[in-house]
């Protein structure tokens, strides 16, 4: 029915849809295909660009490369398991029980998501460096022990810190799945005599499982491709991960061929995992989301309510309360890891960062410009692609959808290498401008933005649009007058999501920045290199304040209607 209407109207008047869409397709090909082609070209050729496999031979015969590969696999696997173990129960408690403070817990998980992982890593240095860390100092003070309780400069420490800032990805998926699960199915099981555990085993868990598996895979990918936390914690601990190894290949004299080749296993592994996810989820057709069902009945926790809340709060000590405390303390402390008292508190660090540190203003400005423009362009791009794919506007909509999803398979640092190779030489010299960072951030954030908006489109019935088209509106008019207003909360949430993503991003930026295009994440990384922890704390807090302020402000723009904040928490 939809298709027929489309053909009829496009015959009778000029429809701009197609040219616009092809333009988008071309744009996305440039965005993704170009850097990946350069990457492959470098990986499979020598300096003179003659085809060779030597780069891979060099890499795979060198223990200095195989060790990081193995380490990365261990980190990614254990972090993913860890994240699921924490996120699943919290997701269930928040979504399906009468635990008190459920909204607060959701907000705190959002706070851990908003916190850039590299900032979390620095905060955990302040807390758990074996000798100077605040927690270790406290432990020694209380017990008189000599040995430290925690050592953040270790494989375990790194896995812990990565998990702290990866579990929100799993939480969001699990909580969403549980939120949207029809209560009737569980009721039916209960009515038919199923005990609580039987219902959980036969209904709830199987229905939530796909979300959990998807979450585990996302956590795995995040942990595998993260750059900041390993760069900050692995070097002092004396080991490399794949991302830090790739970065070290940029050291002078840069070994770009090896860097490109080292990126290939990461790329392949990611593609393999995403295929695996598709295969796992594809076999079970759970189409329960989107229909009209009764809200699930909250499970009464009775006496356990407060214990459950305590559990959630204890978990959230790690990504939120303790690190924020450490950062605040360092910001006012004379030497970063001395507990501040009213008599020792100093404003020196704040004065230094805002009046003496000459890169602060530039980095702040660049970050906000990039955050806002990436979020705006990214949302528009994702909106159009999501529209085309959900409404099947053109025959090749699948290609467009694929292009929008493909960057998921490209880790940040790999994309950084690819973009560096693509845009540091004519015809497109973007290196040294904010454009190359915009392209990078756009590419990195497109897949999740697209998936969010695709889900949002799925909730709007096409009949509303058809009505508009029948009454004579063009497709673009329909989109503007009917679809867009219905989508606004989804759009806001996506915008915020991308903005936060830009603030968090370090792995591509570290390869692509120059002195004039420095962003906050890179500035913080540089400050960590020289051990200026107090300055990092001040900048980090400023960064968090800006992020929260922008997200809150955007949610209050009257045109879009308020209340999207709740939506963000759920998306």
């Amino acid at each position: 029915m939809t298709t027929i209407t489309t053909t009829d109207t496009s015959k009778s008047r000029i429809d701009l849809t197609r040219p616009v869409l092809w333009l988008f397709a071309a744009f996305m090909i440039v965005l993704i295909v170009l850097p990946m082609s350069w990457l492959m070209l470098y990986a499979f050729t020598d300096k003179a660009r003659h085809p060779t496999l030597q780069n891979f031979v060099t890499l795979f015969t060198d223990p200095a490369f195989l060790d990081p590969l193995l380490t990365t696999a261990i980190i990614a696997t254990t972090s993913a398991v860890f994240c699921c173990l924490v996120a699943a129960p919290i997701g269930w408690l928040v979504s399906r029980t009468d635990m008190p403070g459920r909204q607060t817990i959701r907000a705190l998980v959002t706070a851990s998501f908003v916190t850039p992982p590299f900032l979390g890593a620095v905060a955990w240095e302040l807390l758990a460096a074996p000798n100077s860390g605040l927690l270790n100092q406290l432990y020694r003070y209380l017990t008189g022990a000599e040995d430290p309780l925690f050592n953040i400069y270790s494989l375990t420490g790194l896995i812990f810190v990565i998990s702290c800032y990866t579990f929100p990805f799993v939480f969001v998926l699990v909580a969403n799945a549980l939120d949207n699960m029809p209560g009737e199915l569980e009721d039916a099981s209960a009515i038919l005599g199923g005990k609580a555990w039987t219902t959980a085993r036969r209904v709830t868990i199987p229905l939530a499982l796909p979300a959990l598996i998807a979450g585990a895979l996302i956590a795995f990918l995040q942990a595998m491709t993260l750059f900041g936390s390993p760069a900050i914690l692995a070097l002092p601990a004396g080991f490399h991960t794949m991302t830090t190894k790739i970065w070290s290949l940029f050291q002078y004299p840069p070994k770009l061929e090896l860097a490109a080749a080292a990126a290939v296993p990461l790329l392949l592994l990611t593609i393999l995992l995403l295929q695996g996810q598709k295969f796992l989820l594809g076999r079970r057709g759970f189409s329960v989301v989107g229909g009209k069902y009764g809200a699930p009945r909250p499970i009464e926790m009775k006496g356990w309510r407060w214990a459950a809340l305590a559990f959630c709060l204890i978990v959230l000590l790690n990504p939120v309360f303790l690190p924020y405390f450490a950062l605040l303390n360092a910001a006012f402390s004379p030497n970063a890891t001395t507990l501040v008292t009213p008599s020792t508190a100093t404003l020196h660090n704040i004065v230094f960062v805002f009046t003496e540190l000459s890169s602060t203003q530039l980095a702040l400005k660049n970050t906000v410009i990039l955050g806002a423009s990436t979020a705006t362009i990214g949302t528009i791009l994702a909106l159009v692609v999501a529209y085309v794919t959900t409404r099947r506007v053109i025959a090749s909509h699948r290609v467009l959808g694929f292009l929008a999803t493909a960057p998921v398979a490209v880790p940040g640092i790999v994309l950084g290498v690819g973009l560096f190779l693509s845009y540091t030489r004519p015809p497109f010299v973007l290196y040294g401008t904010l454009w190359i960072l915009l392209v990078a951030f756009l590419t990195i954030n497109l897949p999740s933005a697209y998936q969010q908006l695709q889900a949002a489109f799925a909730t709007i019935h096409p009949e509303l649009e058809d009505a508009s088209r029948i009454l004579g509106a063009t497709r673009l008019q329909t989109l503007r007058q009917i679809t867009a207003p219905l989508l606004r909360t989804g759009v806001i949430a996506t915008w915020c999501f991308i903005f936060i993503g830009v603030m968090r991003e370090l792995s591509a930026a570290i390869v692509l920045f120059t002195s004039q295009t420095k962003v906050l994440s890179v500035l913080i990384y540089d400050l960590n290199e020289s051990g200026d922890l107090a300055a990092i704390s001040v900048l980090g807090i400023a960064m968090l304040v800006i992020t929260f302020a922008v997200v809150l402000a955007v949610n209050r723009i009257p045109v879009f209607g308020g209340g999207a904040a709740a939506r963000l928490r759920n998306s």
Partner: protein
Amino acid sequence: MEGRKLSRRDILQGSVALAAGTMFASPVRAQAPEPVAITPDLVEAAKKEGKLIFYSSMDLPVGEKLGKAFEAAYPGITIQIERSGSERLFQRIDQEFASNIRAADIVNSSDASHFIVWKKNGWLMPFVPEDVAKHFPESYRDPDGMFATSRVWLSSIAYNTNLVKPEDAPKSFADLLDPKWAGKMVKGHPAYSGTIMTATFQMVRELGWEYMEKLSKQRVMQVQSSTDPPKKLSLGERAVMADGNEYGIVLLKEAGQPVEPVYPVEGTPTISGPTGIFKTAQHPNAAKLFQAWLHTRQTQQFFIDFTAQYSVHAQVQSKPGRRKISDIKLMKEDAEGVEKMTEEIKTRYARLFRV
């Protein structure tokens, strides 16, 4: 280095073989441009540009204080300091030039061998400030006028006085191999820091790779920049600093932090940091003004007073109460040697320390 002490005079006369004197002492000497004084015209032209981008590896608070002093001396010119480890800056400058990006106006590196490469590439602009021509020893300025040594400093050992008693403290590099220091040391990384690159070269020359191999078995905490070990030491994160900026230690000690420098009996690695202007500078007059200002007697005196480094300006006095460089047994510099060994040091170091 036969273990003799270098006097200040020795240093000034160039027994410390720096890039300039030993490598470029050649007939081209006459090509250095006429020395330039700070004239009102230069100041005016610099103010018109209004901005200066300075790539430097100096400890951040130190570098920013220098920048503020320049801004105060010449209101209307803002200075943006790009601070990072010298080896990272070197890599970035290479990347930027390869892509035709001319961001850096002027650079101060803690790896003097970088200037060999930049000069060879033809990237530097000849410019000789009056003070450099009059008061800087020949071995500390390029005969073609491409750069001059703005500062000299050391990479020493140090310890935290809360954690180590003076009598137990290591006296030499050899002492650091004692098992009692295993897991208790912090050091910088030659692939990120020019100071550590230069120091590692000198240590390897004097003590051999076997020394580094043994040191690598001591479970050393590995940080990046040479400005970080003094900070980790003062936090008490580690008891002993195996290498890192001595000036950072002196400044922290003067600020009341529990740290104490040790000048190892084998000699202390010596580093000099030249400054030069890029031919492609977007703010050439501001760069010239900065270069001239940085090497005046006043600025050099002010600089060593607040940074605890050393100046080769003939008229600069060391600050009362501080140890004189002539009282310290030094390891000899050799920028050309560093340049030849850079890759080997990066590769072998990474293999030994696994990062």
